[in-house]
C-alpha cells in the first residue's frame, strides 16, 4: 500500500500525511518540483518559504483540493483523491455575512451533512471554549479581527478531523492577537491530538509552534531544509531569547536566503 520504500532507511511508524515526489505545473509555470514531505501522527510541521514559492499550493494538495501533476499525496498510507478528509483553514477568515457567529461556526458541520439543528447546537456549546460566549447571535461584521479568526478556527476545529492544515491563518493580525491565537492552536492540537501543518512566513512563529520546520526553496520549489525543533515543550515566549532558538532561527533564515 505504501508503495516503493526502498532506500528510505528504517521503517518508521506509518506517516499520517505524506507527499511523495510532488510536481505541480500551472499554466506552463513549474511551481513545485519533486517535493517530498512526511508528517508523523501528532506532529506539528511548519512550512516556510519565499512568497510565491508554492506553500499554499502544497497545502491545497495535502487538503485534497487539487491533484498534483506528478507524485502522490497519501493520508494514512492511502492516496488522497478528494477533499473532505482533513481540516483546512485558508488565509482569510471567509465568514459569511448572512450567518451569525454561531451559524458561521456550524458551517463546516452543516456542509458535511450534519443536520442544521445539531450543527448549531454543537457550535453554540463550543463557543465558550474559544472565548466567544455571548457572541453567538452577533453578525460577523461586529467582531474584531482576532475574534473573526477564532470563529474561523473553531469552524474548522469542530469538524474533529485528525489533520489540520493552516494556511497563514494569522497573517493579517496584530502581534498580540497573534500570540493569543497561537496559544489557541496549541490548545486545539492537544485536545484533538491532531497532526498539524502550518504555512507561515513568520520564522519565530514556526519555531515557537512546530516540532519540525520545512523550508521550501524559490520556485520551482523543492525542500531546501528540514529542521527538527528540539526545544522543550510547553513552549513559552521566553524561549525566543535562548541561544538554541537563535541558532535555529539563523539556520532557517540562512535556508530562506535572508542571511548569507
Amino acid at each position: 500500500m505504501a508503495g516503493v520504500r526502498v532506500g528510505r532507511g528504517p521503517v518508521r511508524a506509518e506517516p499520517k500525511l505524506a507527499a511523495r515526489g510532488i510536481g505541480v505545473e500551472k499554466g506552463g509555470v513549474r511551481i513545485l518540483d519533486g517535493v517530498d514531505l512526511e508528517v508523523a501522527p501528532g506532529e506539528f510541521v511548519a512550512l516556510i518559504g519565499p512568497s510565491g514559492a508554492g506553500k499554499s499550493t502544497l497545502l491545497g494538495l495535502l487538503a485534497g483540493l487539487e491533484a498534483p501533476s506528478e507524485g502522490v499525496v497519501e493520508k494514512d498510507g492511502v492516496p488522497l483523491s478528494s477533499p473532505g478528509l482533513v481540516s483546512y483553514m485558508p488565509q482569510s477568515d471567509l465568514l459569511l455575512p448572512w450567518r451569525s457567529v454561531v451559524a458561521n461556526v456550524a458551517l463546516g458541520l452543516e456542509a458535511t451533512g450534519v443536520s442544521k439543528r445539531e450543527a448549531r447546537e454543537r457550535a453554540s456549546e463550543s463557543l465558550e471554549r474559544f472565548g466567544l460566549d455571548g457572541f453567538g447571535g452577533a453578525p460577523p461584521w461586529t467582531l474584531s479581527g482576532g475574534m473573526r479568526s477564532r470563529v474561523a478556527l473553531l469552524r474548522t476545529a469542530l469538524l474533529d478531523r485528525d489533520v489540520l492544515l493552516l494556511d497563514e491563518p494569522f497573517g493579517a493580525l496584530d502581534a498580540l492577537t497573534r500570540r493569543d491565537l497561537q496559544g489557541w492552536i496549541l490548545g486545539v492540537r492537544d485536545e484533538l491530538a491532531a497532526t498539524i501543518v502550518l504555512v507561515t512566513h513568520d520564522v519565530d512563529e514556526a519555531i515557537l509552534l512546530a516540532d519540525r520546520v520545512v523550508v521550501l526553496s524559490e520556485r520551482p520549489a523543492r525542500v531546501a531544509l528540514d529542521l527538527e525543533v528540539d526545544l522543550e515543550r510547553p513552549r513559552t515566549m521566553e524561549q525566543e531569547t535562548t541561544e538554541g532558538f537563535a541558532a535555529l532561527k539563523a539556520r532557517l533564515l540562512g535556508a530562506l536566503g535572508v542571511l548569507r
Partner: protein
Amino acid sequence: MKHRKTGARKKAGGGRLRRALPAVLLGLLVLAGWEGAVRLFGIPSFLLPGPVEIAGAFWEARALLLEHSIPTAFEAIVGFLCAAVTGVVSGFLINRSALMERALYPWLVASQAVPIIALAPVLVTWFGYGPVPKVIVVTLFCFFPITVATADGLRSIDPELIRLMRSFGATGWRVFSMVEVPGALPFLFGGFRLAVTYCVIGAVTGEWVGSSEGLGFLINADKSQFEIARLFAEIGILSFMGVGLFLLVAGLQRLVAPWTLRRNG
C-alpha cells in the same frame, strides 16, 4: 439582540421618513406651481388640466380606473415573475458553462436591441387580444437585467469560499445552496429592482398595441376622446403602480436578505 434589532429598525424608519420629506415637499411645490400656472394663464383643460381637475376626474372614474388597473397590474406582475425565472435560469447557465455563455450571450444582447414596440403587434397577431402577448412583452423588457445580475452575482463569489466548502467535504449542491445562492443575492436584488421599474412600462406598451382592457387601452381611448384629465389620472396611477412594485421588491430584499443592505458588506 432582539431589542437592538427593533431599535435599529425604528431608527431606520424614522430616517427614511425624514429622507423622503424633501421629495414630498418638492412634489407638492410642483403640483402647486402647475395648478397656479394653469389658472393664471387660463390654459384650456384639453391641453393641460390642473392637478385639482385631474384629481376630480380620478375620483369620478374611480371604478372604471380600478377595473382597468387590475389587468395591467396582473400583466406587469406575471411578466416580471416570468422574467425573474427566465433571467435567473439563463444567468445561471451563462455562469456555469463557457459554451453556454458564448452561445447565449450574443442573442440575449441582440434581444435587447430589438425594438419591442415593433414586436408587440406580431405577438398580438400570434396570441390574440388576451393577456399573453402583454406578459411576453413585459418579460422581454425585464429579463435581461436579471440575467446579467444573476451571472455577475454568481461570478462574484470568492473562489476561496468555494474551496473552503469543498475542503469541508461539501457536495456541489450544498456549495450552491449554502454559499453561492446567498452570495449572489446582493446582485440578484439589484437586478430585480432595476427590472421591476420596466414591468409597468412593458404592460402598457403591450396594451397599447392591441387590447380591450387595461390602463394602456384606456389611455388610448381617452386620448382620442379628449378625456385629458382622466388620461393624466391614468398616468399617475401607472407611476404609483411602478413605485409600489419597486417598494415591494425592496421590502422583500429587506425581509429575505437584510445583510445585502449594509453599506460595507
